[in-house]
């Protein structure tokens, strides 16, 4: 290990996840839904990477593909030094404790016929040969950690509120001391007041246990609160991957700009001056994405090159990666902080 900064725990290289389409009388393979179409990113140990995008852009698929809940089409997913995408069944099973998931719907992700103790204890049953008493100790410990009363151990999921159920889901994910947790819209199904509790719980646990999160969400304000870096996805590809503050201060990719302009502004004075970018048209079908940039059909700053050539994700400023032709001819000089420059190019894009 060279001592060059924090170690990436998760490295995703050119991940593709296509779902085949079978049609016709003979159920022939006639195409693919390109849910995830070649994305790459790293997650550093202990950081939270937010993954945002509109419905159907492939966020959840990325999360599930990372944990090999789908067999990915191509690419590499290196988690803690091992390529999860190519592990055999038994090796994968041994690897599972390192990476866990918190699901979106706390109701659907808990088996209605198992008690809380059995739900949280399931990972222990699968991966340890501990005695019943030791398992029970661990279950109580986990319940304490996520703020559930120990007396709830005998209850069933339907007896809990949404927030409590999500805590059960988190406790189950924590049972095997994972390093990496994919949070697949863990707060989307919760009330706003409960959302804050759950997010704070996730943050506390991260601090205490040194967890690494991939936080998938479409709630931009919540991502701003919890994430260190944010990846904006559009139609199966990453549009922009930037540290949180610069991204929210000045998004570079036109899609990120449009998406972030939709964030509600609590201050009424500023809200009055807010300029919303309203995109026209619909998201193209992921089965038949545009030939050029995926966003070219709706981009307000589109120009000819966008329609013919897919832009690659490249670093345009320190730590900021954008997949957009607007930034292509930018010199790759190290340390250039061309905030205003970038702005000018945006202006040029508009005049096209």
């Amino acid at each position: 290990m060279f001592d060059d900064g924090p170690r990436p725990l998760v490295q995703v290289q050119d991940l593709r996840m296509y779902f085949p389409i079978f049609s016709g009388i003979f159920r022939r393979h006639t195409g693919d839904v390109k849910a995830v179409d070649g994305i790459s990113f790293d997650i550093v140990e202990g950081e939270t990477l937010g993954l945002v995008g509109e419905s159907g852009c492939g966020k959840s698929t990325v999360g599930r593909a990372l944990l090999r809940l789908y067999n990915i089409t191509s690419g590499r997913v290196i988690i803690d030094g091992e390529d999860v995408a190519s592990l055999g069944p038994e090796a994968l099973r041994k690897k599972r404790p390192t990476m866990q998931m918190v699901f979106q719907d706390p109701q659907a992700s808990l088996n209605p016929r198992m008690t809380l103790a059995r739900i949280i204890g399931e990972p222990l049953n699968e991966h340890t040969d501990w005695s019943t008493a030791r398992k029970l100790d661990r279950i109580y410990e986990l319940m304490d950690a996520v703020g559930l009363n120990r007396r709830f151990a005998n209850r069933y999921p339907h007896e809990f509120s949404g927030g409590q159920r999500q805590r059960i889901g988190i406790a189950r994910a924590l049972a095997l001391n994972p390093k990496f947790i994919v949070c697949d819209e863990p707060i989307a199904a919760l009330d706003v007041s409960i959302q804050a509790q759950v997010v704070n719980l996730l943050e506390d646990l991260q601090e205490k246990l040194g967890l690494t999160y991939l936080f998938i969400s479409h709630d931009l304000s919540m991502v701003r609160h919890i994430a260190d870096r944010v990846a904006v996805m559009y139609l199966g590809r990453i549009a922009e991957l930037s540290p949180r503050d610069p991204l929210y201060a000045k998004p570079l990719h036109p899609y990120a700009e449009a998406l972030l302009s939709a964030v509600n502004e609590p201050d009424p004075v500023r809200a009055a001056n807010r300029r919303r970018i309203i995109l026209t048209g619909d998201v193209p079908s992921p089965a038949n994405p545009p030939k050029g940039c995926n966003f070219c059909t709706r981009c307000p700053k589109v120009f000819d090159r966008c329609r013919t050539e897919k832009p690659e994700l490249r670093e345009v400023e320190t730590g900021r990666f954008v997949a957009c032709h607007l930034f292509d001819d930018k010199p790759q000089a190290a340390g250039s902080t061309g905030a205003s420059e970038a702005n000018e190019r945006n202006q040029q894009g508009v005049t096209q």
């Binding site: 990972p123 699968e126 120990r150 007396r151 151990a153 005998n154 069933y156 889901g169």
Partner: protein
């Protein structure tokens, strides 16, 4: 919360289920009735020693004692050859109940197995469901008759006349009535396996066998339970049809179904029809109630209401 109430250790779920089951009045009544029927057919013959099968060799006595209404000597009366009906009910009940429960168990086992495999493993879905369709399209009674005709003798040679007949009938009925269960279970499994808790189990690293046993099967219990309770009645009746057609038990060997069948064809003495009819109805009804209670008891969402 600062109270230091004792934290209960996780209870065995069977205890919870029993506690809930006890609150279901119909189910408890059904359990008692089935218990009484079982006592009647198993313990009964130890105390009631009238001859159920052999006809009295004394022809005059036999003819005088035919088709008698209930008396103290014969509480349920006598049949067309002066045999005691109560003794026949006891012996017949043993066979009928055994056929009903075992055939149902075979059908449920095969049906659930095929349904789960077809629903859970995509590759098996096509072949197994086509097999199910194939079985559904067969005329079942002729199939059953052929089955018993072809293999009945071999089974009788291997296990003795009555036990051999019992096995071939149970296997025959079981193997021709699993299809509905398989279809229901497959449908349920298809829906269940897309649920997030199954995905969660996979992300934990639970193997397919454990996912099926822990997450899928407990959630398909309800429809299976209903199919099972209905299946018992069906099995009892099918057995009587087989016996009536001469491919089941020997004509003089009583079962509830064959007693009912015989009485039904000689309607001069309707009382002879009532006894086995009541016995079959009681069994089916109480098993239905037990199934109902079990289904409720197994569902934690209903439990405790």
């Amino acid at each position: 919360m600062t109270d230091t109430s004792v934290i209960e250790a996780p209870r065995s779920q069977w205890r919870d289920i029993w506690d809930q089951f006890r609150t279901h009045k119909g189910a408890m009544l059904g359990l008692i009735v089935v218990g009484m029927l079982l006592t009647f057919v198993i313990i009964g013959p130890l105390f009631w020693r009238a001859e159920p099968i052999l006809v009295d060799p004394d022809a005059a006595k036999m003819i005088l004692g035919r088709n008698k209404p209930p008396t103290w000597d014969h509480p349920f009366g006598t049949d067309q050859v002066a045999r005691d009906i109560m003794a026949r009910l006891m012996l017949g009940g043993k066979v009928s109940l055994a056929v009903g429960f075992v055939a149902m168990a075979v059908a449920i086992f095969v049906g659930t197995l095929i349904g789960v495999l077809a629903g859970y493993f995509r590759r098996l879905d096509g072949p197994l469901m086509r097999l199910t369709d194939l079985f559904l399209s067969l005329p079942l009674l002729p199939l059953l008759l052929v089955l018993v005709f072809l293999y009945g003798q071999a089974m009788r040679n291997a296990f003795g006349i009555n036990l051999g007949t019992f096995f071939i009938i149970v296997i025959g009925i079981g193997l021709t009535s699993w299809m509905q269960v398989a279809r229901i279970v497959r449908g349920q499994v298809l829906a269940l396996k897309e649920q997030e808790f199954v995905l969660a189990a996979r992300s934990i690293g639970t193997g397919s066998t454990n996912i099926i046993l822990r997450h899928v099967l407990p959630n398909v219990v309800s429809p299976v339970m209903i199919a099972a309770t209905l299946g018992i009645a069906n099995a009892i009746i099918t057995e009587s049809v087989l016996s009536f057609l001469g491919q089941g038990f020997q004509p003089d060997f009583p079962t509830w179904g064959s007693m009912l069948n015989y009485a039904y064809n000689n309607q001069t003495y309707p009382i002879q029809m009532i006894w086995p009819g009541v016995a079959i109805s009681l069994t089916v009804l109480s098993v239905n109630y037990i199934g109902d209670g079990l289904r409720d008891a197994l569902d934690p969402r209903i439990r405790g209401r």
